[in-house]
Amino acid sequence: MNVVNEDKLAKSKKRNQSIAFFILGLLGYFIVAILLIILSFIVYKGISVINWSFITQMPEDGMTKGGIYPAIIGTLYLVAGSMLFAFPIGVLAAIYMNEYVKDGVFKKIIKQMTNNLSGVPSIVFGLFGMSLFVNKLGFGDSILAGSLTLGLLALPVVIRTTEEALKAVDNTFRQASIGLGATKWQTTRRVVLPIAFPNIITGLILSVGRVSGETAPILFTVAAYFLPKLPTSIFDQAMALPYHLYVISTSGTNIEESRPIAYGTALVLIIIVLITNLLANALRKYFGRKVKMN
């Protein structure tokens, strides 16, 4: 008795598979297409204004001419400052969470809080940063206040990715080290962290990407509308690329005329994020090779 027609079954299986692959493939290409469209749009509109003087000159004529040098430098300062703050704290917090705290209510609460923190709208971070760093602590509108605010924003990303990286380290590495009489801290520092490091770098990449493009948190804490000189200390205000883009697109002296500069700014911002990503990726590969698993 043969109730299944083998031939027919094979054919319908094959057809279903082809349909599924087609749909999945289509969606994949769709995403790539969207990204390419956005990128090529920005490049098309912005490439004409990009030249050496654009990235090395001060803005001129009510920001309708000249370059965006101070905004580039401001953004780099802010990214560096926020990472200086968020990376050590985030990594140490994640180490504490993953290596030291026992499973239980306390850990669950911290975890939930970290997740909630990453869901807080960035404008709220901006308001918080203004009231705490700018006013209460008296840093004023400054790179310091802006960096700290952006750092807070990046913190949950750093914590979460570091935690994932630590979790991915096979437990037998810890057991082997502990078994040789090492303490928990020796184990963490000498064995677990080196193995997790390439993946921790990923967290850094993600947060740099997020931080460099944020506008709302720097709005009230550091960003200057127009400041044709470079900051000289961490208590100075600074221009920043995303805010500069916002300003010349909405409230510049001559919005139409500064349109190409806006696209140029956007392009520079994208390129900076891209370069950071590539750089961090190279770092990750470099460290990854050093601790390559079999």
Binding site: K102, D103, G104, D170, T172, F173, R174, Q175, A176, S177, I178, G179, L180, G181, A182, T183, Q186, R190, V191, P194, I195, K290, V291, K292, M293, N294
Partner: protein
């Protein structure tokens, strides 16, 4: 006096009991195989002797576990010092992301030894003990990951030997290795017996037969039968032991 001993040892993971009233005594300079189907508690039992189970959240251990007659779960026991008495070898070779030399030196360094000459000598002796010296002596500064799986496992054994334990605990030490590497490790176990007391968890019945003096059969968290390996394999007293070693379940 027995080298290793447990008296009514019980282990609970939260509400579920992993080991029930295990009484077992092991002489020094012997190889003891712990066999049994997956989840029978043999690995958990092995990890009682270096208190590795302590790392698991929500674990509870009752009864007595003795090394050289001392209860290692008694209050005031220095766990780090205790763990130095035992070396552990794992299922998958797990060298640290360090050089071959530093892998073996690790146990010395974390225990505060800084004398470079002493470390060098100890590393060399340890690697020689696992018959790996000729293969690695020219690349001690290379990453341990460049070694083959079998070499890595022998390096891990050398790493454990460097702190001069008296007991070696092995958790399925050859299950990730090819037959030739397995044979080398088995030969090594045989040689190490002269100096160490060895307990091996294994899934491989032939291996237990080849390398061990005594065999303990665990089933569902209980010690079903413990005897000389010869007796267990030729004349098991318990029906379940017989069924298991003849491959009728497991």
């Amino acid at each position: 006096m027995y080298k290793l001993e447990s008296k009514n040892a019980n282990v609970f993971y939260g509400a579920s009991q992993a080991l029930t009233d295990i009484n077992l005594a092991i002489h020094s300079h012997t190889v003891t195989a712990l066999i049994g189907p997956s989840g029978c508690g043999k690995s958990t039992y092995l990890r009682l002797f270096n208190r590795m189970n302590d790392l698991i959240d929500g674990i509870k251990i009752t009864g007595q576990v003795l090394i050289d007659g001392q209860d290692i779960y008694a209050k005031g026991v220095n766990v780090d010092a205790l763990r130095k008495k035992t070396g552990m070898v794992f299922q998958k070779p797990n060298p640290f992301p360090k050089t071959i030399f530093e892998n073996v030196a690790y146990g010395l360094r974390v225990n505060g030894i800084t004398d470079a000459k002493f470390i060098e000598e100890r590393v060399e002796t340890s690697i020689k003990q696992v018959v790996l010296w000729d293969e690695v002596k020219d690349k001690l500064k290379k990453s341990a990951f460049e070694l083959s799986g079998g070499q890595q496992q022998r390096l891990c054994i050398a790493r454990a030997l460097a702190i001069q334990p008296s007991i070696i605990l092995m958790d399925e030490p050859t299950s990730a290795l090819d037959p030739i590497s397995t044979a080398k490790v088995e030969e090594l176990i045989h040689e190490l017996k002269a100096k160490y007391t060895i307990v091996v968890v294994t899934h491989n019945m032939q291996q237990a037969g080849r390398i061990s003096d005594s065999t303990a059969f665990f089933y569902l968290g209980e010690l079903v039968e413990y005897n000389t390996t010869k007796e267990i394999f030729t004349n098991p007293k318990n029906q379940r032991t017989q069924n298991y070693i003849t491959g009728r379940f497991g």
